[in-house]
């Protein structure tokens, strides 16, 4: 049984090439491919900047973290960015242990992440 993860999308006012994406559930090895496909579709559609709201992301493992790093790298290559907001302390600890806090753009909340868009 695949872990449950749901992505909800929302436009960001005044930012035609940006999208807010709410991650809901667990991100792990069983669903990374689904998430990878959905986010890559956004890149293909021209959304080069993504603000990921992790308020309802309960869990992430090393495989999930791997695709987050991939999204960050891909967005930068396309001239955009992949920003993360509202990370719970358990998920943050995993990111920190892996040493990815300097590689990912992490913000306290969505407003701050949106405000940091160039």
């Amino acid at each position: 049984m695949e872990s449950q993860i749901e992505l909800e999308y929302e436009d960001i006012k005044g930012r035609a090439n940006a999208k807010k994406v709410r991650f809901i559930g667990d991100l792990d090895a069983t669903n990374v491919e689904t998430v990878l496909e959905k986010i890559c579709n956004l890149f293909t559609e021209g959304f080069t900047t993504i603000v990921a709201d992790f308020k309802k992301l309960r869990y992430v493992n090393s495989t999930g973290l791997g695709i987050l790093l991939h999204f960050s790298k891909s967005a930068k290559e396309k001239g955009g960015s992949f920003k993360i907001a509202n990370v719970n302390e358990n998920v943050y600890e995993i990111i920190e242990i892996i040493g990815a806090t300097t590689l990912l753009e992490i913000y306290d909340d969505v407003e701050e992440a949106v405000g940091a868009l160039k």
Partner: protein, 262 residues
């Protein structure tokens, strides 16, 4: 109204525990019988007692008061009196009287004996399970382990870390296991109040064994955070207090010890 019957026996599983079988209506008329049997418990010098009450039809407030007194005496001698097998009606009545703040309620006798072993003797509990080497089986396994740790009183943060360790070890076992899926992955847990030991055994893929040994050696011998190969293993190492991997024989055995922090 059913007259009360009582019997005192040693627990079949823990002879140092007294089981006080009570049957019928525990009303004010039963207090004398109750005191006679309680004296026998004291004479037996076994001060941990379980009142097995699955056949108790009613409890009066007078009887509850008497049982509170019995509990106090046992408590003063380093023991306890707990209830097992209460009916919903009796449980509701005891809760209404506030007795749930004084007595521990257990669903049945076996659960009460296990709780004694866990809380008083601090004996570890062991869990063994096996599952097919497929990724989709890993989330329910890691969530089950997390719930076990929560149920055993571990904090939310510890449980999350343990869930992550189990997830990473099991994912590695699936990813690097023998391709023919001949043998299930086995997970052994040994949990006590201070630590959990996790052991995962799988049949290794002979083609990957040398590269696995090299990655493991490199990660186990350094404190560096790895961002490419072996990210999961680095995570396990950082979250646990001890990690060892044994490649001897046909299988791979990963053994992790995680101390309780909360």
């Amino acid at each position: 109204m059913e007259s009360v019957k009582m019997e005192i026996r040693q627990s079949e599983f823990k002879p140092e525990v007294t089981v006080w079988y009570i049957e019928g209506d525990l009303d004010s008329n039963s207090i004398e019988t109750l005191n006679v049997h309680f004296s026998r418990i004291l004479e037996g010098n076994r001060f941990h007692a379980i009142a097995e009450m699955s056949k108790v039809s009613n409890i009066s407030s007078a009887a509850v008061g008497e049982l509170m007194g019995c509990r106090q005496v046992l408590s003063d001698k380093g023991g306890d009196l707990v209830f097992a097998g209460l009916s919903l009606d009796c449980k509701a009545k005891l809760t209404h009287l506030g007795a749930n703040k004084i007595f521990k309620f257990h669903s049945d006798l076996r659960t009460a004996v296990n709780a004694y072993a866990w809380e008083v003797q601090q004996k570890p509990e062991k869990v063994w399970l096996s599952f097919p080497p497929e990724l989709n089986f890993v989330p329910p396994v890691r969530q089950l382990v997390s719930r076990i740790t929560r149920q055993k009183g571990y904090g939310q943060r510890d449980s999350f870390r343990i869930e992550t360790i189990v997830d990473e070890v099991c994912n590695n076992a699936v990813e690097h296991g023998a391709p023919d899926n001949l043998r299930d992955i086995e997970l052994f847990l040994k949990i006590d109040r201070k630590k959990i030991e996790i052991e995962v055994v799988n049949l290794s893929d002979p083609k990957k064994i040398n590269s696995l040994k090299a990655i493991s050696k490199s990660i186990l011998g350094t404190n560096e955070k790895k961002l490419e190969r072996g990210r999961g293993l680095s995570l396990i190492k950082m979250l646990s207090n001890d990690l060892s991997i044994d490649f001897s024989g046909k299988g791979t055995t990963v053994h992790v010890t995680k101390l309780r922090e909360e």
